[in-house]
């Protein structure tokens, strides 16, 4: 069964307040890094999945992202997907990606 590499990026919806991001933005100033106008914290989930083909892999990962990795009430997610496991970078997808 082919292996696919994926990266799911989970971010807060723009309307949701991010106090942790705001505290981190304030700390950037204290480090001496000026000009950080916006800072919001999300998650990156890296995974490998076995599936018969790319489309099936995409379907399964969409279900996973929608129901487990992200809460659609407060979060958006995007999926990067590529053929091949073990160090394959999903952000430079092969074929359809």
């Amino acid at each position: 069964m082919p292996v696919y590499s994926a990266r799911v990026l989970v971010s807060l919806r723009p309307s949701v307040l991010d106090p942790a991001g705001e505290a981190t933005r304030a700390a950037a100033g204290r480090l001496g890094v000026e000009g950080v106008a916006k800072l919001r914290i999300g998650k990156a989930v890296e995974l490998e999945i076995e599936a018969p083909d790319l489309e099936t892999a995409r379907e399964r990962l969409s279900l996973l992202s929608d129901r487990l990795l992200a809460n659609p009430v407060i979060e958006n997610w995007t999926l990067e997907l590529a053929a091949g496991g073990q160090g394959q970078d999903p952000s430079s997808p092969v074929g359809e990606g």
Binding site: P19, A20, A23, T24, A27, R30, L31, I41
Partner: protein
């Protein structure tokens, strides 16, 4: 002799430390609010356990920028004695006064239990009251206590006698079973267990008392 105890919004062992140092040992102790900068008259500073702000990003990652910690870092540079307990240890690693990082416990559980530790005091000024290889019992209470550092650096720490406290049963999966570390000078100590909770027979054991009493020596 006087001790300062740093207080962040979220610190919850600050009173316990003061009870141990002032209540049990009779050492004048004052609280240092995170926005303060005045360490005058202090012989040692304790960064206590609990939380620091919301521990956003990583435990201690934001706290290291607190005004008081800039002074504590300078105090440590001048040879002042600094003790970081639990969240305080995490803060010391983020601040760069001690190497490595404390990460989520291997088995995920928050651990609240007594642990057996082996002490190797070496040059650590905080541990001179203990024998080399002595076993002591102190409580732990943490979710993120798994010590991580790159293997080469761990070897260096071992070789220079800076791993001064080691778990006997390694409850959190720490690399090298590290429970406590000192700096090159032996003036800074960071540890995950809580010595301040073992200074009064009424609250379980006295094994932490000699650590804080070392201040009096």
């Amino acid at each position: 002799m006087a001790i300062g105890v740093v207080v962040f919004p979220g610190s919850n062992c600050d009173r316990d430390v003061r009870w141990a140092t002032e209540g049990c040992l009779g050492v004048p102790t004052r609280f240092l609010w995170h926005e303060e900068r005045d360490l005058s008259g202090l012989d040692a500073v304790v960064i206590p356990g609990g939380f620091s702000y919301g521990d956003y990003l990583r435990c201690g990652a934001i706290a290291r920028f607190a005004p008081i910690l800039q002074e504590v870092a300078a105090f440590a540079e001048r040879g002042g004695r600094v003790l970081g307990i639990c969240n305080g240890f995490q803060v010391l690693t983020e601040l760069g006064l001690l190497p490595g990082a404390l990460t989520r416990n291997e088995k995920l559980h928050f651990l609240c239990e007594d642990t057996s530790l082996q002490v190797s005091p070496g040059h650590c000024q905080w541990l001179q009251g203990y024998g080399d290889g002595e076993t002591i019992h102190l409580p732990i209470a943490h979710g993120e206590g798994r010590y991580q550092v790159d293997p080469g650096q761990l070897q260096e720490l071992e070789d220079s006698g800076r791993v001064v406290l080691r778990y006997q049963a390694n409850p959190n999966g720490s690399l090298g079973a590290v429970a406590g570390l000192t700096n090159r000078a032996g003036t800074v100590l960071g540890l995950m267990p809580h010595p301040e909770r073992a200074c009064d027979p009424a609250t379980g054991g006295l094994d932490g008392r000699r650590l804080l009493a070392s201040l009096l020596g």
